[in-house]
Symmetry: C2
Subunit: 399 residues, 2 copies
């Protein structure tokens, strides 16, 4: 592929925030000597370089009762050399949707000879392994992993660590276009190939997100993202003293991290998770609060944002109200409760939420629940309980 070079990089302590880079060309052709007149504003990332990273990458797909057709499409778009990790929280009673997902994945992997793991979020062995390794906070009263996409993401990170991958990327299961999924992974690989630090993150900005319900209108940004971006940029501006608009992916569900970074971060529950990742990075490596990990701070954390060529077309779920309440409140709460957040930003956040009727006058957003970083888990103990090589969770495992 060909992408824009990083035209501008802002710094926040040891965090390097790269401006959005556009994907220019999905397929940049054969490797080989660079064109003598190659534009300095453009980077050519050859397939072979991309594949070096795909081989080391796990793609996590959290899924919950999604249409099978969509799930199959998403899987067909993930480059072959990536390991697929499906963490399913689909129903198993009456209609066993988890079973259907497993069968579809099995059939697909059989035909295409590829590797995939699939695990149910409520798997009892998983729960036992988490309890023994010191991650009991992830478990509910029934002793099994709690519901929620964030919880599924943490499970995927642990499995990817266990199986010794170096990168993990997240992709939602409700995407209509396999070609978009393919592009997300190419962007992830492109970002990691540009990173100079082993602690790196790639976040996706959609070229357009068409709204299907009203005919076909190509929005640049979702409303929620726009608002979250504004407030997280205020957070940076306040702490650096320079106004900025650098963050344009505060709610990016499609994102990827080096596992070394993923293991360091605490994770918020629910829709706060993606925003919280950024907030946590700023808190720990922004240099304002005491540095938690001095070795990491030395190497720095790098954040890339890629704008895709493909529009993002996914299942439309319910009304604006649902979206705003469910997504905006936790996203802004993550910012609100950061020690980096000053009084003015807090006031603005409350004004925003009240004006939208999400919060009552004189209310306060609740602090999103947080899970400690995977790094603090005893991975050895986790491994002892989980079956060797995770064989029973392989999509090709026999019943």
């Amino acid at each position: 592929m060909r992408v824009e070079t990083q035209r501008y990089t802002e710094r926040f302590g040891s965090v390097r925030l790269n401006e959005v880079q556009k994907d220019l060309e999905l397929d940049s052709g054969r490797a080989g000597a660079a064109h003598p007149l190659e534009n300095i504003a453009v980077l050519k990332i050859v397939e072979e370089a991309s594949k070096d990273f795909e081989e080391k990458m796990a793609i996590a797909i959290p899924i919950k009762n999604e249409k099978l057709k969509l799930f199959e499409g998403v899987i067909s778009g993930i480059p072959h050399d990536c390991l697929i990790i499906v963490v399913s929280n689909s129903q198993t009673k009456r209609v066993d949707r988890f079973r259907m997902e497993r069968d579809a994945l099995n059939q697909y992997c059989n035909f295409t000879r590829r590797s995939a793991l699939i695990i149910h979020q409520k798997d009892p062995v998983l729960a036992e392994a988490l309890a023994k390794s010191g991650y009991a906070s992830l478990l509910g009263e029934d002793g099994l992993v709690k519901d929620g996409k964030a919880e599924g993401m943490i499970v995927a990170i642990l499995l990817a660590s266990l199986i010794k991958k170096s990168y993990i990327g997240f992709i939602d299961a409700d995407n209509y276009f396999p070609g978009s999924v393919w592009e997300y992974v190419k962007c992830y690989a492109a970002g990691f190939s540009l990173a100079k630090s082993p602690y790196s993150m790639v976040r996706i900005l959609w070229h357009y997100k068409p709204k299907v319900s009203e005919g076909m209108f190509f929005r640049k940004l979702g409303r929620v993202s726009e608002v979250t971006n504004k407030h997280i940029n205020s957070l940076i501006s306040f702490n650096t003293g320079f106004e900025t608009e650098i963050i344009r992916t505060a709610n990016a569900g499609e994102h990827a991290m080096s596992l070394r970074l993923a293991e360091l971060l605490p994770y918020a529950t629910g829709y706060a998770v993606e925003t919280q990742e950024l907030v946590s990075i700023f808190e720990e490596f922004g240099g304002v609060l005491p540095l938690a990990q001095s070795t990491v701070a030395k190497r720095g954390v790098e954040i890339f944002q890629f704008e895709t060529r493909n529009p993002h077309l996914h299942e439309d779920r319910g009304s604006t109200e649902h979206l705003e309440n469910d997504m905006l409140l936790p996203s802004l709460s993550a910012i609100y409760h950061s020690p980096l957040c000053d009084k003015t930003i807090k006031e603005n956040i409350i004004k925003e939420l009240v004006s939208r009727g999400i919060l009552k006058e004189k209310g306060k957003p609740l602090r999103p629940r947080q899970y400690k970083p995977p790094k603090e888990v005893d991975l050895k103990k986790f491994q002892e309980v989980m079956p060797e090589n995770l064989t029973p969770y392989s999509a090709l495992a026999e019943d």
Copy 2:
């Protein structure tokens, strides 16, 4: 990519008609030894093999006053190693849309260092070259190339011949998803890599064609295609004596040919063009009528049909009625007027058209206008008039 192997091939004289092959995996990973347990029902087509064909392929984009954003997206999806040929019939008066297309293409090619040609359908030099080479039938009363997509396609075939490409693929300019465009070209390359004859054709069947206007409904086939397929299959059945459903792409706008085949075929005007290609192949190489080209008949003509992974989402133009009148009538006329078409099929076609109100009781579909095969043009004379290497038509040409 990974595609299904050809599970079944029907023969109609020296024409080999392959059943639809599904695209299974967009990106099949690194080249290298085949998996020891590779499924015999599946073919892995490695990137390098695909690129061998992309290098020899021109991708023709006929365009007429299309939204620039869509045009830019389509171009960004075409693999770098293909030569882009844009044949534009956009307006040049008042708002010069052709100029805008040229500027957009120029900017894009500048950034991505790729080759593209762009020519206006009403270019006077082109018209002169056509007149001198014996293709005056393509010209209207004003001495310039007639309006129409088919006419643009013929121009693209001639330019591709001139510039010594071996394959030509067609892609519409109104596609919403660059990732789909990319997949079409990969399917073209996959088909050509499987072909044993130098006379080969690849036609695209969309996995789904979502109808946006009514929310989001994933249709398998358009109504027009369904009807055209039925009647063209009857045409085959009648002549071979075995009932068949082999053709599922009778109206495929997205299709590609080896230039050796493309040069042999006569072309119909308007929406009949894609159906006529099949009908002409059956007439000339089906062995029922006298064989026109005995050397070709010996090598045989191969037709591949690929079902994409991506759905096809394009600009929605007007009502069903428009579609049926504009597309169905000429498509079925191409079948109706073939010497291969017997009385019963003719009656069925008329019944079909009358029942849909497209044709009046006791009416008869008009024979679509046909242009002679490009092979019968004096390419030397064409070349003499056209500027050397088509330099002025390069997207990177200076004004």
